[in-house]
């Protein structure tokens, strides 16, 4: 079976879902030519009515996606870089997230946002940020952070079919990651974590691009008979607490690894949950491996110093298994 890369997987999901439902359409900046390739070719198959280049006006087109969802269509709205969401926060946080609740359940918002995020080498502070932390505290949204081709395809397809606003965060550095994707109409449910590698000594809950990094570390430590279980939550909202806690109950040690910042970040959110609900399982503190709390710098050595990496995951694991 052929290997598919991350971007091709997104592209497949879009083709399949647009094929499936004539009320779906894609809108965003340069989705016709598609700089990153995710929407490539859609224009030829679905035409300009359903594949729309927008003006550079995030509040306008993100808000329009919200309105289009409320008026009976199923928009798939691309925000080129996650940090451009800042220009449309009202539309996402005050409108998309709240309208169903404020209307007493009348509003239906079958709405999917896609964005590229994360450090991808010298893109600097305004193009390297991990923005999902800012959405964690906004009830009404769902948040998916796929770590590989199969997951991004399955999660994106589920997101498009979901009747709530879902934001799919696609890490820019995963673009060329390749793997096999199960044939057919492959769906990954929102809210189901995946144990990417079973282990006994320590649980590493890894998010997005940290999953392949955690797996590398797990391979390395296996040679030293340190058995690492890698759990990928896959969606941050809804969160599969059960799978995460079951793993920690088994290993009694937890590291949470995320590329976002420490303060108010996703790693902090999961660590607090594990530390509270898994208190009686834990032999040591839940260690958080995150990027430094600085804007992401441009220069490669600085960027490397800022971003969470294998070395920090490894150090956190060693510290935990080394305790008593």
């Amino acid at each position: 079976m052929a290997l598919t890369n991350f971007v091709q997987a997104i592209n497949q999901a879009l083709f399949e879902e647009m094929e499936r439902d004539p009320l779906t359409f894609v809108m965003g900046e340069d989705v016709v030519l598609s700089a990153f390739g995710a929407t490539k070719g859609l224009i030829d198959k679905f035409g300009p009515k359903r594949v729309r280049n927008t003006p550079i006006a995030e509040a306008g087109f993100v808000g329009a996606a919200v309105g289009a969802a409320m008026a009976g269509t199923r928009p798939i709205c691309e925000v080129e870089f996650a940090s451009f969401f800042y220009c449309a926060f009202d539309q996402v946080c005050n409108q998309a997230a709240k309208l169903r609740y404020m209307s007493g359940g009348q509003a239906r918002l079958p709405l999917t946002f896609r964005c590229v995020f994360g450090a991808m080498g010298g893109a600097a502070a305004q193009h390297s940020e991990t923005v999902y932390a800012q959405f964690l505290s906004v009830p009404g949204l769902k948040i998916a952070v796929p770590s590989g081709p199969a997951d991004v395809k399955g999660l994106l397809k589920s997101a498009i079919r979901d009747d709530n606003p879902v934001i799919v965060f696609e890490h820019g550095a995963l673009g060329r990651l390749r793997e096999e994707i199960p044939a057919g109409d492959y769906l990954v449910p929102l809210g189901k974590a995946a144990v990417k590698r079973p282990g006994d000594n320590v649980t590493v809950v890894a998010i997005g691009a940290m999953v392949p990094k955690a797996l590398k570390v797990a391979d390395k430590l296996a040679k030293e008979n340190v058995s690492v279980e890698v759990v990928d939550p896959r969606t941050l909202i809804p969160l599969d607490e059960e799978t995460i806690l079951a793993s920690v109950e088994k290993t009694n040690r937890a590291v949470v690894a995320d590329e976002g910042h420490l303060r108010g970040g996703a790693a902090t959110d999961l660590a607090a949950m594990i530390a509270e609900k898994g208190f009686d399982f834990l032999d040591g503190p839940v260690r958080r491996v995150t990027s430094l709390d600085v804007p992401i710098p441009f220069s490669p050595p600085l960027e490397k110093a800022a971003i969470a990496d294998e070395a920090r995951i490894e150090a956190a694991i060693r510290e935990l298994v080394g305790r008593r």
Binding site: L23, F25, K49, R50, R52, T54, P55, A57, A59, G60, F61, V62, G63, A64, A65, V66, G67, A68, A69, M70, A71, G72, T73, P75, D90, Q91, N94, Q95, L99, R100, Y101, M102, S103, G104, G105, Q106, A107, R108, L109, P139, G140, K142, D162, D163, N164
Partner: protein
């Protein structure tokens, strides 16, 4: 006026009377602290909501604002469920979760009032886009104020609607103020309609207190939209008789940002009285007919308030419902 049928004329009047009666009640009930939260009423501005919505079909949609009671009533909103919502009752349009600033009736194409100034413009634009995507011929009207016309969403929405020739009518209710700030001190143009030039779309100025003129102009704009000729910016010049928020006198006093005299001047241009004059002149409609409408409406409102008062509050357990589908 002649061209308009009597039934339509009576409907226009009935809607304005209903809005006036509803808002007067809400104002009084809020002053009596019977209603929680902030309420914003549009007394004196009834003609714009009425004229625009009368030109729409049931399958057409609107977006509204924090000052939205009139828009909702004009689009067919049921006063009892509106009142119950404003009271925070389970029988309200939003089961008590929304309140005055967030009333929605999807079955009537009312996408909602909104607590965020300018938020309705992109939503209305997207609602119009949905019609194009789905191959329907419905039109969306977007109500917003003079203050909202300074928000970036105004610019982004009108540009988007113009380049995509979307079936949407942007209705600016220019009542001269944003909260307590006179429009001209924060707005670079005298007429919001001038801004249509920035999008190469028609920009019309109408007397927002003349329901028939609003109706006529809205009808043309809606027809253009339905025909695929794109958006229109329709500015209705009007005035807010009451405070920005009911009860503001308590912390501002009166005359803090406008003279009593200015308010009185505008009250002389009351859209209802004006219509009554037209009706009399037209000879088509008798004073009795108008009186009957007013009386029916009073009874309707009496019943709405009774319904709201007697309805149960939501149960605390309902707090977690409706976050997700």
């Amino acid at each position: 006026m002649e061209q308009l049928g009597k039934e339509l004329l009576l409907d226009l009047y009935h809607t304005m009377v209903r809005i006036r009666a509803f808002e007067s009640r809400v104002r009084d009930l809020a002053m009596a602290n019977e209603i929680p939260g902030f309420v914003h009423v549009s007394i004196g501005e009834e003609a714009s909501a009425t004229g625009v919505c009368a030109a729409m079909r049931p399958t057409d949609r609107i977006t509204s604002t924090h000052r939205g009671h009139g828009h909702l009533i004009a689009k067919g909103g049921r006063v009892a469920q509106m009142m119950a919502e404003i009271y925070g009752k389970r029988t309200g349009y939003c089961k008590g979760k929304g309140g005055s600033m967030h009333i929605v009736d999807f079955s009537l194409g009312i996408l909602g009032a909104n607590g965020i100034v300018g938020a309705g413009l992109p939503i209305a634009t997207g609602s119009a886009l949905a019609a194009v995507i789905a191959g329907r011929d419905d039109v969306t009207a977007c109500f917003f104020g003079d203050g909202a016309s300074n928000e970036g969403t105004f610019h982004e929405s009108l540009n988007l609607a113009a380049v995509w020739k979307l079936p949407v009518v942007f209705v600016c209710e220019n009542n001269g103020f944003g909260e307590f700030t006179p429009m001209q001190t924060v707005t670079s143009v005298q007429d919001i309609a001038v801004r249509a030039k920035a999008y190469d779309i028609p920009g019309l100025i109408v007397d927002g207190n003349d329901v028939v003129e609003v109706y006529r102009n809205a009808s043309e704009a809606i027809a253009r939209a339905r025909a695929g000729e794109g958006p229109t910016l329709l500015e209705c010049k009007t005035y807010r008789w009451e405070g920005h928020v009911v009860g503001e006198q308590a912390f501002l006093g009166t005359g803090a940002y406008r003279s009593e005299q200015e308010v009185e001047e505008w009250k002389k241009r009351c859209p209802l009285i004006r219509f009554e004059k037209f009706a009399a002149e037209s000879g088509k409609i008798s004073a009795q007919e108008l009186k009957k409408i007013r009386e029916e409406t009073e009874a309707e409102l009496e019943a709405a308030v009774k319904f709201a008062r007697e309805s149960p509050l939501p149960d605390p357990s309902e707090v977690t419902d409706d976050v997700y589908q």
